[in-house]
């Protein structure tokens, strides 16, 4: 056994030497700086997958990356309305086809490259033009969605750029506030090519420092930021997959801010004097869709009856424990155009039974209910399904729950209506992209969006709703659009193609000394104005 202890001692001695070396290396002044330096350490749910704004398609990446970039326009704090960012102002031509942007003149990228109209054209063409020399420097999952309606981009002069659309598309300005519309440094893309995602350069309030895979992403403040330097010196993003571990790290004071808190711990955290819980309803909606083209749900009375039979408030309070906000409309209240006056169906089993009798089902019926095991935005699918099943049982509707793995579930849901064999009703959720009402109402309720063409999974069709949504799409007057969307929400609620349940809240828990942190409906974090005591 003696050899073993000898080996162990050698390891310790070697280790001490290595440790000693690395302790000597930082110069004295670094320690002093560290004392004055303000940093925020953020616990993410998983490792970012790319820091290239044009390639990002998940929250962990956008949260770590988006403080490095700006867009021509941006969402206002806490809402999805648009305000100027890198463009000081813009004109839209009468026919709604030409968008001319007048750019700021005092902006430089982190690598010193000047920001100008060429950089804007480069950032868009890189994604949409297959012949662009840097088109192969990434996979642009959001390019089609963000710029699919763009015909071409013209540099008018150094600080003026014109984007020409193929057809009028009112939500376009909102698209330009999304991550795929970020303006990146052309010099950096040319230099790094495919590796730009690991050497990101933008114009934003924070600059890239390092990315240690699986360990951390570090950003530092951009002292030359055109809206003024941030108050925090350093942002550190750490991926911690386990919810419980992330929470323990926060409670031990090693993290300043975490996402995705287990619902059961929320009450305790709210009571903790060292912590603050910050909530905001996100661009999300959770529902159960009926196959409105097939019996029994082709009868509006049956759909209404089912809606009356379900205690949605109990689902939000008992199962989601307040991590979701009870919905009154498919459009979340954080998005403009939301109609606060439409009413969701209240819990009223008596009325449900009465409507069922009127529809010719006094003894109820039997249906199958499709439920995924998990999935992005699906909250707690099986528990919620069980609650709905129990509520429907009480009015005589027998529900057979069919669970599927998420991948095969999607394949079963998004099929033509007459091929949907395994389910009469099913769960689904939607997380919005650009904060425009069109992104919820058109995509989810237009009859042009029936699967497999789109996302209208209830096969809902109401000609009047179609007309309203089509018109709102090509109208540039926001007031007029708001009216159209409010009307559409009324009609949709009356037709009850869904059981609308909740909008999932974004919840972060932070140390008490983190000041001015506000959540944004898009889920992107903003640290430019954040400070620590």
């Amino acid at each position: 056994m003696r050899w073993f202890f000898r080996v162990m001692i050698t390891v310790f001695v070697l280790g001490a030497i290595v440790a000693g070396c690395s302790f000597n290396s930082p110069p004295q002044s670094a320690g002093e700086n560290a004392a004055r330096e303000k940093s925020i350490v953020i616990g993410l749910q998983a490792e970012p997958t790319s820091l290239d704004a044009h390639q990002i398609s998940d929250y962990n990446s956008s949260r770590a990356a988006m403080e490095m970039y700006d867009q021509l326009v941006q969402f206002k704090d806490e809402s999805t309305e648009i305000e100027p960012d890198l463009a000081e102002k813009w004109d839209v031509s009468k026919d709604g086809l030409e968008y001319t942007f007048y750019l700021r003149k005092d902006v430089k990228f982190h690598d010193g490259t000047p920001f100008n109209a060429e950089a804007v054209k480069f950032s868009i063409d890189r994604q949409i033009d297959p012949k662009h020399p840097y088109h192969d420097s990434g996979q642009f999952a959001y390019a089609e969605f963000t710029f699919g309606m763009v015909d071409h981009v013209e540099v008018v002069d150094e600080y003026t750029v014109k984007i020409v659309l193929k057809e009028p598309y009112a939500p376009f300005l909102s698209n330009l506030a999304m991550h795929a519309a970020s303006i990146v440094s052309p010099t950096a893309v040319k230099q790094y090519g495919k590796d730009f995602s690991r050497h990101p350069v933008g114009t934003g309030p924070f600059k890239f420092v390092s990315w240690n895979p699986g360990v951390e992403v570090i950003l530092e403040k951009n002292p030359e930021y055109f809206k003024g330097a941030p108050k925090i010196d350093k942002l550190i993003f750490k991926p911690i997959t386990e919810d419980q571990t992330r929470l323990t790290e926060l409670e031990a004071g090693n993290l300043d801010l975490i996402v995705n808190v287990p619902p059961d711990d929320l009450e305790r955290l709210k009571a903790d004097p060292n912590l603050q819980v910050i909530e905001q309803s996100g661009m999300h909606v959770w529902w159960t869709a009926f196959n409105t083209q097939k019996k029994p749900f082709n009868d509006v009375r049956v759909r209404q009856a089912v809606n009356y039979a379900i205690n949605k408030e109990a689902i939000v309070n008992e199962i989601l424990k307040g991590t979701g906000e009870l919905a009154n409309s498919p459009l979340p209240p954080s998005i403009w155009g939301h109609n606060p006056n439409v009413k969701n169906y209240e819990y009223n089993p008596e009325k449900a039974k009465q409507l069922l009798a009127e529809a010719g089902y006094p003894n109820g019926f039997e249906v199958t209910y499709g439920v995924p095991e998990s999935g992005s935005g699906m909250q707690q699918p099986t528990t919620m399904a069980a609650a709905i099943q129990a509520d429907l049982e009480k009015v005589g509707i027998r529900v057979k729950i069919q669970t599927f793995e998420w991948g095969s579930y999607l394949d079963k849901v998004f099929v033509p209506y007459d091929q949907q064999k395994d389910m009469d009703m099913h769960q689904m959720s939607w997380i919005g992209d650009n904060g425009d009402p069109d992104n919820f109402l058109y995509i989810l309720f237009s009859s042009k969006q029936w699967p497999t063409a789109g996302f209208n999974d209830a096969y809902y069709k109401n000609e009047e709703v179609d007309k309203l949504l089509d018109e709102a799409r090509v109208t540039n007057d926001k007031k007029k659009r708001t009216e159209l969307y409010e009307k559409a929400q009324e009609l949709i609620l009356k037709d009850a193609p869904w059981i609308i349940v909740d909008h999932e809240k974004q919840i972060v828990v932070a140390q008490k000394n983190v000041k001015n942190f506000k959540l944004h409906p898009t889920g992107v974090f903003r640290f430019a104005n954040v400070d620590v005591d």
């Binding site: 056994m1 073993f4 162990m8 280790g15 001490a16 290595v18 440790a19 690395s22 302790f23 940093s39 350490v41 998983a46 490792e47 997958t49 790319s50 390639q55 398609s57 998940d58 990434g138 996979q139 999952a141 089609e144 969605f145 495919k194 995602s197 240690n212 895979p213 699986g214 360990v215 951390e216 570090i218 550190i236 750490k238 991926p239 911690i240 997959t241 386990e242 419980q244 571990t245 323990t248 790290e249 409670e251 031990a252 090693n254 793995e405 991948g407 095969s408 999607l410 394949d411 497999t452 996302f455």
Partner: protein
């Protein structure tokens, strides 16, 4: 000995081929169209068809396999959908962290397993033996996940003396920092294997204690310490050695859970994130990589075994 090594190496070929067939079938039998997953929900039918052709998904299954195997052998393990990087460098980059964790746990499990096994054997049927074996039983049955959280809360949160998760403190990469971060995860991972090694050591020692040469050693008045550590342990060590070798393989695979709990940046966390994101090329690569390392570790153990025990001839 040389012939034996060559024979064993040749025998690896069908085993590794089997591993690739299994890996390939697992990924291809699981539901979901990779092309749809790569392009996301907003893709058109046309672009999906194009990508399927590009990836060769429209070919007969055996052709797909041969194509994939050819690429693997050339070092082209495909490109991760999620991380937008080549799979093989991604795995190699993370494998180091897993290896550190696995070896540290193997060391811990060996030291504590062997020591407690010897003590239990020495004090057999006394309360010390019973206590040790009870601890071993609990350790063996303890879920790694639960133990990890327990250690985090006790030593990280309540006593605040050890880091709770990760491999380094923010912005650091010194050895001492790594060492501190290694303590809790390697203990969590070592407990199960330590328990198995302890049981093996105890029974192996007890068996040796009954042998004539031990009685002779004692009869000629050797000190008890010398009898145990010099004569008994040396002879009892061969089966213990085998168990330790097997445990390293288990630890390598078992590291997934511990890496998750402690967010250790190894291939375990990489794989779980890959599964959640339906990153087929990445998951396929990791399964293949871990399976191959397991086979290779077993090979090394077998060769060492033959080398250490001259009585075994092949």
């Amino acid at each position: 000995m040389g012939i034996y090594v060559v024979k064993r190496l040749l025998a690896l070929i069908p085993v590794l081929l089997g591993v690739t067939i299994l890996t390939f079938s697992i990924m291809h039998l699981s539901p979901g169209d990779p092309a749809k997953i790569i392009l996301g929900s907003k893709a058109t039918e046309e672009s999906i068809r194009q990508l399927r052709a590009e990836l060769g998904l429209d070919l007969p299954i055996y052709q797909q396999y041969l194509r994939w195997l050819g690429n693997i052998l050339r070092g082209d393990w495909g490109r991760s959908i999620q991380m937008k990087m080549e799979v093989l460098p991604l795995i190699l980059n993370r494998f180091g962290a897993t290896l550190i964790l696995t070896l540290a746990s193997a060391g811990l499990a060996t030291v504590f397993g062997v020591l407690s096994g010897i003590i239990a054997a020495q004090k057999k049927y006394t309360w010390i033996d019973r206590l040790l074996m009870l601890i071993v039983l609990v350790g063996f049955g303890m879920p790694v996940f639960w133990l990890g959280i327990l250690l985090q809360i006790t030593f990280g949160l309540k006593l605040n003396i050890l880091p709770i998760s990760g491999m380094y403190s923010p912005g650091q990469n010194g050895f001492l920092d790594l060492f501190k971060h290694l303590i809790l995860p390697s203990i969590s991972l070592a407990v199960g294997s330590g328990a198995i090694i302890a049981r093996m050591t105890r029974s192996s020692m007890l068996e040796v204690f009954g042998q004539d040469y031990i009685r002779t050693a004692r009869a000629k008045g050797l000190r008890e310490k010398k009898v145990i550590y010099k004569h008994a342990l040396k002879n009892a060590f061969i089966p213990i050695m085998t168990v330790i070798g097997m445990q390293i393989g288990f630890l390598l695979a078992g590291a997934v859970l511990v890496e998750m709990v402690f967010s250790w940046p190894g291939i375990g966390t990489l794989m779980v994130n890959g599964i959640l994101a339906r990153d087929f090329p990445l998951v396929q690569g990791i399964i293949l990589f871990v399976a191959t390392s397991y086979v290779l570790i077993n090979l090394v153990v077998d060769i060492l075994y033959a080398y250490l025990d001259p009585r075994i001839s092949y």
